[in-house]
């Protein structure tokens, strides 16, 4: 099951999710996941707005911006959204199920 985020705002429930079609549309609209750290002011709003395309295509930009402004723990939210967006591609990669990797890694 794909990862989703549920958001409550003004008595409305929103389900944030990416599909390959919305990821493609986001890219067409100027979103570039590789530029998220170099151009955060442009890319983060696009990333957040793109998550509405799957289930709430008709929600206005102002509403999306208002929701984003009210969101708590934004850093974790953005990390989760990046992970969900990346899932549209990583799920296409072959994975050897049941096989454990033997190369460890850490963030420095």
């Amino acid at each position: 099951m794909a990862q989703q985020i549920r958001v409550s705002f003004n008595d409305e429930e929103y389900t944030l999710e990416y599909t390959r079609a919305t990821a493609k549309a986001m890219e067409k609209g100027g979103f570039d996941i590789n530029a998220i750290s170099s151009q955060p002011n442009t890319m983060i709003p696009l990333l957040f707005a793109g998550a509405f395309l799957c289930h709430h295509r008709k929600v206005k930009e102002e509403t999306i911006n208002a929701i984003f402004n009210k969101m708590t723990n934004k850093e974790a939210l953005i990390n989760k959204l990046v992970e969900m967006y990346a899932d549209t591609v990583t799920t296409l990669l072959e994975d050897a199920e049941g096989e454990q990797g033997n190369a460890s890694w850490e963030v420095c």
Binding site: A23, C54, T91, L92
Partner: protein
């Protein structure tokens, strides 16, 4: 295999990556609507299902081979150039071969170990008898 791992992802747009692998998923039976608009995790299930299908086809091909072999073995007597007059082929299998299921294999294994236990027990008995005879 899917054309994603051989080139760095920065140089290829995400749309290109999707378009590149789409024919593969169509070939394994995934509808394009599911690929584009469905749950992104579904592709994994399609890949696994494809793996199972291939295993089933492999078993099917193996069974075909077994039946063909059985048929040849049964007509082999009359195919012999110097076969005696009146030689008849053996009749074809009167029923399909039984599938060797996991349970059947377990039963076979249990029977084997039981046979082994019986052999060991009878060997001990024989040894005891001969030992008693010698000590009388």
């Amino acid at each position: 295999m899917l054309g994603l791992s051989d080139e760095p992802s920065q140089t290829i747009s995400i749309a290109d990556q999707f378009n590149r692998v789409l024919p593969y998923y169509i070939s394994i039976g995934m509808p394009t609507d599911e690929f584009w608009n469905g749950d992104v995790e579904l592709v994994k299930a399609y890949r696994k299902a494809w793996e199972y299908k291939q295993q089933q086809w492999n078993i099917q091909a193996y069974l075909n081979g077994v039946y063909t072999y059985q048929a040849i073995v049964r007509v082999a007597p009359i195919l012999h150039a110097f076969a005696k007059r009146g030689t008849k082929p053996m009749p074809y299998l009167d029923k399909p071969l039984e599938m060797d299921t996991k349970e059947q294999q377990e039963i076979k294994e249990q029977n084997k170990s039981r046979e082994l236990q019986d052999k060991i027990a009878s060997a001990f008995e024989r040894f005891n008898k001969s030992f008693r005879k010698k000590n009388k």
